[in-house]
């Protein structure tokens, strides 16, 4: 990108500067540390110059927004056209309570919904299952049947909002419920917009809400790809998630590498199931974490976009540019929030918001200051949403596209992250792909090592966390936190009992029988799941039938 002679001059000048200025200064005032590292322990030099990106070919490596390789963004105008979708993940207690919170968030200017389900729902148990005890309505809303889903979206026009649902193992069931609610509202499924997470591989790696073994899970996922490409074409059928991988302790490089390796596995599974890559790949979406190291995170998002574009083009021979675009949702890093001096978390979230926006995210959830203590209060959620709005409307970073491009440091770091992530992907290919690398525990072990290292750096003081290992104060207990009423569990069980008395149980039996029969064939299960849902079969009943046919995943425990 630079003139050869000019580069030579710059190199010479740099040598002079090091000798005459830097070394002199250091001899009197040593630098703060012997070596400087990013938040993910990549080496950081004192200064970056054109020398560090001498081979950077602008058209090949950066290009233009909305064009291959999408390093600078996936849309031609980015935030000058439309701001990112502000989408706060929310849900707790009953469908009635959560419905109120959604309406509140929409009134406050939020532009999309993001549904948090409780753990029993995520693992395919009804609220009256013994394993659900104590968990009903805790980390999200409890959904047992279509009945709850009707209440959850009551008065919310599904043709107007886009809805993201954090649901994985039972994603097909919840998607079916959403379609059924829309139909009752008179909204055709072809016009529905939203996302299901539907990413089982990262559940095995890091998040833990798996049900079925990999083979059956991959079949359910490709069934959804196929069904949606025909019936729900505007729906994002998967959100391939690095978020939880990072939360589990992975570095920025590992987050990119393991997420894209999972992505490769999904694409391979769908192609193997007979789908054409350009039929489903445009609906793949991604989900990343925004951590504290602002510049490293920006480089990470750019590297991920470029790497995915290359993989789709070169490895899978996609023809449509839409198949090569890495669109992503971002959430700020929950694991960086401290229980100590929780208001400081507002500042952390602001930095992370900037990282996501400067990195070109399509949508964003900002965490609330009190999430290291409990679920957030309404006031905390509002501050978190306002943080996005301040960055969007006041900071000015939205006015030009990819403003950090061309920074010697950012471009050099983007190259570095791409290169190191690619090395991991090669290694995973050698191990036989992401599924094998998960089954053998390789990916989990890499993440655990990074997590342990991170913790030890905090404890040795090598890594500073304000309020935790430096600048501590004596603190009073934090009283103003959200509590989920334990009554929710009883209420939910009563609703379930009433449902089972009033629905047509003969019909439920028939649809479940049919589903079981089809699960044993290679037919697409979506239509049968939809029938079951509409007959008010419960989530637990539907997943129960599938458990009988598919069995359950056994976690490989590696310490």
């Amino acid at each position: 990108m630079f003139d050869k002679n000019k580069l030579e001059e710059i190199r010479l000048e740099k040598q002079n500067w090091t000798k005459n200025n830097v070394e002199k200064t250091i001899s009197r005032f040593p630098e703060r540390k012997e070596s400087f590292k990013t938040g993910s322990n990549l080496e950081v030099k004192r200064l970056y110059t054109p020398d560090d990106i001498e081979d950077l070919d602008y058209n090949e490596k950066l290009g233009f927004p909305g064009q291959y390789p999408f390093t600078r963004g996936v849309q031609p105008t980015m935030y000058r056209g439309r701001l990112w979708t502000m989408r706060q993940y929310a849900g707790f207690a009953t469908a009635e309570e959560s419905n109120k919170r959604y309406k509140y968030l929409l009134e406050q200017g939020q532009t999309g919904l993001s549904v948090a389900f409780d753990l029993p729902t995520q693992i395919g148990y009804d609220s009256d299952h013994p394993l659900s005890e104590g968990e009903v309505g805790k980390v999200g809303v409890a959904i047992d049947s279509l009945k709850d889903m009707e209440i959850l979206f009551d008065g919310i026009p599904l043709d107007k909002v886009s809805t993201s649902m954090t649901i994985n193992a039972p994603a097909s069931v919840l998607l079916a419920m959403y379609i059924a609610v829309a139909e009752k509202q008179g909204v055709p499924k072809g016009s529905l917009r939203g996302t299901i997470q539907n990413d089982i591989l990262k559940e095995y790696i890091a998040r833990g809400t798996y049900i079925f073994p990999p083979k059956a899970s991959m079949r359910l996922i490709t069934n959804i790809f196929e069904y949606c490409s025909k019936e729900v074409p505007k729906w994002n059928t998967i959100s391939i998630s690095g978020y939880h991988i990072r939360e589990a302790g992975a570095t920025a490089v590992q987050e990119v590498a393991f997420t894209l390796a999972d992505g490769i596995a999904y694409v391979e599974a769908a192609i193997e199931a007979g789908l054409d890559v350009d039929d489903f790949a445009p609906r793949l979406s991604f989900f990343f974490n925004a951590h504290n190291d602002l510049l490293e995170e920006v480089a990470k998002f750019r590297a991920a976009r470029r790497l995915w574009a290359r993989i789709m083009k070169e490895r899978f021979h996609a023809k449509s540019e839409k198949s090569m675009m890495l669109k992503f949702h971002t959430q700020t890093a929950g694991s960086t929030l401290t229980a100590q001096q929780p208001d400081n978390n507002i500042v952390r979230v602001t930095i992370q918001t900037l990282a996501a926006v400067l990195g070109g995210t399509q949508s964003l959830h900002t965490n609330s200051r009190d999430e290291a203590l409990a679920l957030p209060t309404e006031e905390s959620v509002r501050i978190a949403l306002r943080t996005q709005q301040i960055v969007a409307y006041e900071s000015g970073v939205t006015e030009t596209i990819d403003p950090l491009a061309g920074s010697y440091y950012i471009e050099s770091l983007t190259n570095k992250i791409e290169e190191e992530a690619m090395n991991y992907i090669k290694k995973i290919d050698e191990l036989g792909g992401a599924i094998r690398a998960i089954e053998s525990g390789y990916i989990q072990k890499e993440i655990q090592d990074a997590a342990y290292n991170y913790q030890m750096e905090i404890e040795s003081g090598k890594r500073i966390v304000v309020g935790v290992n430096k600048f501590q104060i004596e603190e009073e207990g934090h009283k103003d936190i959200l509590r989920v009423d334990p009554e929710v569990e009883r209420l939910q069980r009563e609703k379930l009992k009433a449902l089972k008395e009033e629905r047509n149980n003969k019909l439920v039996e028939d649809v479940l029988m049919k589903l079981k029969e089809k699960a044993n064939t290679s037919e697409n299960l979506m239509p049968y799941i939809l029938d079951a849902v509409k007959a008010y079969a419960t989530l637990g009943e539907i997943c129960g039938v599938l458990r009988e046919v598919f069995g359950e995943y056994e976690q490989s425990i590696i310490l």
Binding site: L119, A206, T338, Y452
Partner: protein
């Protein structure tokens, strides 16, 4: 003491957040303890069975889903029902301060919240282990 302290690190309930549990497990092991990790989704009954079978001195549980008030005391009660009263039971996770006194009353002897150093946990166990 002629044998290393044996610890069962357990994840009761449906919560899948095991970063903390695994970091603690490894830190305890590095401190010379023998550590058994249960893996995810353990019922209180399974935890108690594992504690008895593995003859552990400590049961260290982690919950981040908010189900601690229900699940932690259940483990202590089941241990007592089995006649086990010399095992140190501790817990950690996202646990509001207001809940801690009740949990201690129920027999969970210490609760560690976010930001705790693994060294503090190691020290606490060494000082308070009962056998």
């Amino acid at each position: 003491m002629d044998r290393p302290i044996r610890v069962l690190v357990a994840k009761p309930g449906l919560d899948g957040h095991d970063r903390g549990a695994k970091v603690i497990a490894r830190a305890l092991r590095d401190a010379g303890m023998e550590v058994i990790y249960t893996g995810l989704r353990q019922t209180p009954e399974q935890i108690v069975q594992a504690a008895i079978q593995e003859d552990v001195d400590v049961v260290a549980m982690s919950i981040l889903s908010g189900a601690h008030n229900h699940l932690f005391p259940k483990v202590v009660n089941l241990l007592r029902e089995e006649g086990v009263d010399d095992v140190l039971v501790i817990g950690g996770g996202v646990i509001p301060e207001d809940d801690i006194p009740k949990l201690k009353e129920a027999g969970i002897e210490e609760i560690f919240t976010p930001g705790t150093s693994t060294k503090d946990v190691v020290e606490y166990i060494k000082r308070n282990v009962k056998r």
